[in-house]
Each structure stands twice: as C-alpha cells, then as structure tokens.
Amino acid sequence: MTDSAKDVMTVSHDDKSDGAQTKMRSKRVRPYALTGGRTRTRHHLLVETLISVPEFDPVLAESLMPESRALYSRACQRMSIAELSANLDLPLGVIRVLVSDLAGQNAVFIHPTAYAYQNNPQVLERILDGLKQLPV
C-alpha cells in the first residue's frame, strides 16, 4: 500500500462556527514564539497520537495563525503528531502545543493510543492478530 493520503482534503464547508474561539492572530511568528514560549501541554501527546478534525470549520481556520491553520487542515486527513511535525516542518514540541490549543477549542480530536488503554492484553491481542494477518 502506498501513501495515498496526499493533499486532497475532503472537508465539509458548512459555515457553522458555533462559539468557536475566533482570535485574530495573523502575524507570522517564530516557532516557539507562536506558542508563547510554552513547551508543555495539558494533553498527553505521544509521537504516535492521532489527531483528526471531526468537522472542518472554515471560519475558525481563517482565524488561526498560519501554522495552526496548516495543522488544522492537515489533521483533516487524520495524522500522527510525528507526521504533522515532519509534514509541517515544525518541531514536535511546537506541534504539541498547537494541537493542545486546538483541542482546547474543540477544533481537533485527540485519539486515544494503545498506551491510554495501558497496553492492555485485549489491545495487544488485536495488534498481534493484525500482524499475523498482514500479507507477506
């Protein structure tokens, strides 16, 4: 299987902004300046943690800083923190802070990881079964 997740975005363009924060910040700033110097987040974001956008809001997107807007758009394809960092060429720490902020606005969804289930046996069994079923 090749990575067919190109730059195609299939997002719903309804104009619902229902109470989403619309701070006007458009000035391009440097990576950790745009996180206000913060390097820690409220959310537990592992490199493999998946981020997705349940409902794309173009009004919210317009209100975001360029980096956050790019992240918001990318996450429409459901992507891991590590892939977002690589694709947007921003450090993992910056991506974590920006994702955390977007999650605080309910703009993105942070998927649970196997670790969130404490790598419990049922999850591990599913992973093992999945590996056994891979075509060789």
Partner: protein
C-alpha cells in the same frame, strides 16, 4: 458535533500503537522498518529542533547547516481502526534526549544486533535494561555471507538477561520483519498477563 458525547464517526475510534526499533549504526534498523512500512520514511529534521533553536529564524538558503539525522519511521494499518507506528531511535549519543520521548507509551521495543558490530548495540541494550520500563526483545540480524554466531554466544556477549527473548531475523525480509514485530507484541503480552492476571 456534540463534543460532550462519544464520537459518532467511526474514524474517531481509531487508535494507534507504537513499537520502538533500536540498535546502533548500521545494524539494519532502516532496512527492517522499510521492509514492513506502508509509507515512505519521513523527513524528520524538524523533530530535532530544540526549543532554543526554534527561535532562530534563519533565512532560507542562507548557508544554514541543518542537522540531518536519519530517523526511522514506519506505519502499518493493522485494521481500519488500528494503526501501528514504528519509530527508530537515533544512534548518535547526542540525540539520546529523544529516546525517552520516542519510547514513552510504546508497547515494546526491539534491539537489532549485527554480530559483526555487536558493540554498536550495547548502548541500546543498556538503555532498555536500565533506563526504561518497556518490554524489549533482541533480534540478531543475519546478513547474507556473514558468519553465523550461536545465539548463546550473542546472549553472553550482550550480557543479556535470560528473560529477554533473543531471536534471529533477516531485516530485508518482510515476513521476517513481521515475525520480529510479533515477537515484541508476544513478549509484551506475556508480561502484561503476568502483571495483570485474569
């Protein structure tokens, strides 16, 4: 969408898991990851940028010598709602700060060993024996035309505890790479069942 209810979109139920692939330089980490990954390796230069470096806005093409470290990265879709990520740990000592970050939350790790350069993997074995709580296995990468070593000799050379599984593999073979990953999960599963009976 009502954010207070559980997600109704099945895509939002997708979870991810992670296995760490460790070992020194030239032991076959990249080969193993690429044997099973469904995506091409990422350009992971940005991962390395530390907070202090991030504030320097260097002009494009301005003779900036970017630190390039080959970071192995792979992804396997096991089920539509279950993704397995593979992360290779960088060999260079100065990137050890990344090991904790990459290892956190992993279900387990594999340390790859090349018997011709067994010392290259000492550091990784030390890390997982002493500085990490992750279950790990060791896989001896067999290259064609290289002398075979008895696994017992390898275990002795690595001073590896008896409870750490030691297997052989061919990192170039997809089937063999999948076996290695199964070995990691099986080991993690056996420890999970011991620690949480019933």
């Amino acid at each position: 969408m009502d954010s207070s209810s559980s997600p109704s979109d099945p895509g939002l139920l997708t979870i991810s898991a992670k296995i760490v692939v460790a070992g020194g330089f030239g032991v076959g980490k990249t080969t193993l990851v690429n044997s099973v990954s469904e995506v091409r390796p990422l350009n992971t230069d940005a991962w390395m940028t530390e907070a202090s470096e991030g504030v320097d806005d260097l002009p494009p093409g301005g003779g900036k010598s970017k630190t390039t470290v080959a970071m192995d990265f792979g992804r396997i879709t096991l089920q539509p709602d279950l993704l397995l990520y593979l992360f290779g740990t960088p060999g260079q000592a100065r990137f050890w700060f990344l090991w904790d970050d990459l290892s956190r939350g992993a279900l387990g790790a594999v340390v790859l060993v090349d018997t011709n350069r067994i010392d290259q993997s000492f550091a990784a074995v030390n890390y997982f024996e002493n500085d990490s709580v992750l279950p790990f296995i060791v896989a001896v990468n067999r290259f064609e035309g290289k002398p075979e070593h008895d696994l017992a000799e390898v275990r002795e050379a690595l001073a590896l505890n008896e409870d750490v599984p030691l297997i052989e593999c061919d990192a170039r073979s997809r089937a063999s790479a999948i076996d290695v990953l199964q070995g990691v999960v099986t080991h993690s599963l056996s420890l999970a069942k011991v620690s949480a009976p019933g």
